[in-house]
Amino acid sequence: MTVTVFIPRDAASLALGAEKVATAVAGETAARGLDVKIVRNGSRGMLWLEPLVEVRTDHGRVAYGPVKARDVPGLFDAGFLSGSDHPLCLGLTKEIPFLRQQTRLTFSRCGVTDPLSLDDYRHYQGLKGLEKAIAMLPAEIVQEVTDSGLRGRGGAGFPTGIKWKTVMEAAASQKYIVCNADEGDSATFADRMIMEGDPFVLIEGMAIAGIATGATKGYIYTRSEYPHAIATMGEAITIARKAGILGPSVLGSVHAFDLEIRSGAGAYVCGEETSLLNSLEGKRGIVRAKPPLPALQGFLGRPTVVNNVISLASIPVIMHRGAAFYRDFGMGRSRGTIPIQIAGNVKYGGLFETAFGLSLGEIVDHIGGGTATGRPVKAVQVGGPLGAYFPRALFDTPFDYEAFAARNGLIGHAGITVFDDTADLMKQARFAMEFCAIESCGKCTPCRIGSARGVETVDRIAKGIEPEKNKALLADLCNTMKFGSLCALGGFTPYPVMSAMTHFPEDFAPTPLIEAAE
């Protein structure tokens, strides 16, 4: 009987040696004359266990990890093909606490299936949402999405249904669905994991968006730093087109929808939707002033839905299970689930999909298990390079758009970077300004000039030059950037800077360097 072994093809698993493991498993299989089928699945999102190798048994899938190529012969000797015990054995995959505690709606298939197998996709409820959408009127689909409470998962948190409604009601001969897959925030990798681990769900979500709004063409704009995601997504599009999921008649319906993937070229600011649209049009990735809204004048001046990968990938389950099912998860105005990415200096790093509302402390200490170095957690940055640094004192903050905003932070794309007590928050504040200076598109002065002046001002504080005066100046500069910048790059860079100054004042008062000591 053929035994199925799962070895991830996710970029993070590959970065930890999954390819060598797959080669070793294939080699041992051949040498021992065994009947084994290797499936290259996505990642389950438990990065401290990658490469995570799974074997399908009568009792369910049994996990082994982290597996190195040199462990492979020993695994075969121990009889891992029948799920036998071994020092690396983790038991049944679904019983691993990190997975068991999750509510996987958007990521239900990620790590479970062969990302490029449509049979797998259908077997695990794929295309159910699209089939349902085809039988509905566009306005009904939009209403369903509105009722689900889904808000933009890219970070802005704008209600997805409202955006769709605007595009649906706009009259135009051509409308577009643009998927923002320009996931540049440090600590985030949810978009990448979906594109590499379950690309059909994004295609399905975009097709539903197209039917709902009357858009017949879609683009996925992703990063050149994600070659694996680009390759997998591209293959999935080809397969979907052949299967009639994309094309002139989506699943045999009257609706046409097709899709292309486009690669950015290393500019962080292109994750901002108007800059992304300019880049997609082939221009410099300069931010546009709003209005006009992209929903009315977006790609090539036509009505365009710009949604994040996770927003679009959450649509199929919402359509399939219904708005009420999705809305019942979460708290306050943050409905449904959010894939939290726990990263940086953390013991159990990875992707944890759960309903909104867990406290930051639960996420970092209990789920993440504290730091990888074993030292105390000093700070966590939530929401990428434009997110605030939170001290332990604020670990009771629930994971919710409004709760984070109330504490001068943001959840952004739900990435959390953990830092231990060796971190220097003044250095991090300087980096935030430096990053803004490097990545600024240059259109507005507060961002372009403010960030450069910000770096200089932090440097003066570090050197002990009039520290109090310069701290006041830095705060004033942050205020100008926050309210005077055109987009979130200049507008949100003050979050990490101000939070570092506010919560970690001791780091901004170093012993003044005594110059010319010798």
């Binding site: 985030t188 790609f299 990875g350």
Partner: protein
Amino acid sequence: MTMRISADEIALRSRDIIHDLKPLEGPMLPILHALQAEFGYLPDAVKPIIADELNLSRAEVHGVVTFYPDFRDHPGGRHVLKICRAEACQSMGGDDLADRVRSLLGIDFHQTTPDDAVTLEPVYCLGLCACAPAAMLDGAVYGRVDEHCLSEIVAELRQ
């Protein structure tokens, strides 16, 4: 082996690539990526050709090319090593790793070793943030880069 490509050759090959991609909506970035894949960089000579084919000014093309960090105006090394400099990697010793790589290769970021073996580039996030620090060598990714992993990468570079 150094290959000098004549201006005529560049023009011929560029026009072929541009003709293939021109029908796309917003063809500029796909064209620039394809040309860089073809030549290893974007020779100055391609700019007027793109301008002509897409009915743009040379200044507009130059503006686009210089906006994006990916596009280089001169050939890089045989390998390109990218080291992530973003926060998640910083939290796991990314700055020390960057210093170590710089001293091992004897070059700074944006530079190429004198033997043309490797160009060192910073990158702001490879999406490998839960297995930091991370690096990418010619499209192959590395996570939890430690001294052992680094020696593997350097061995790869020497080949």
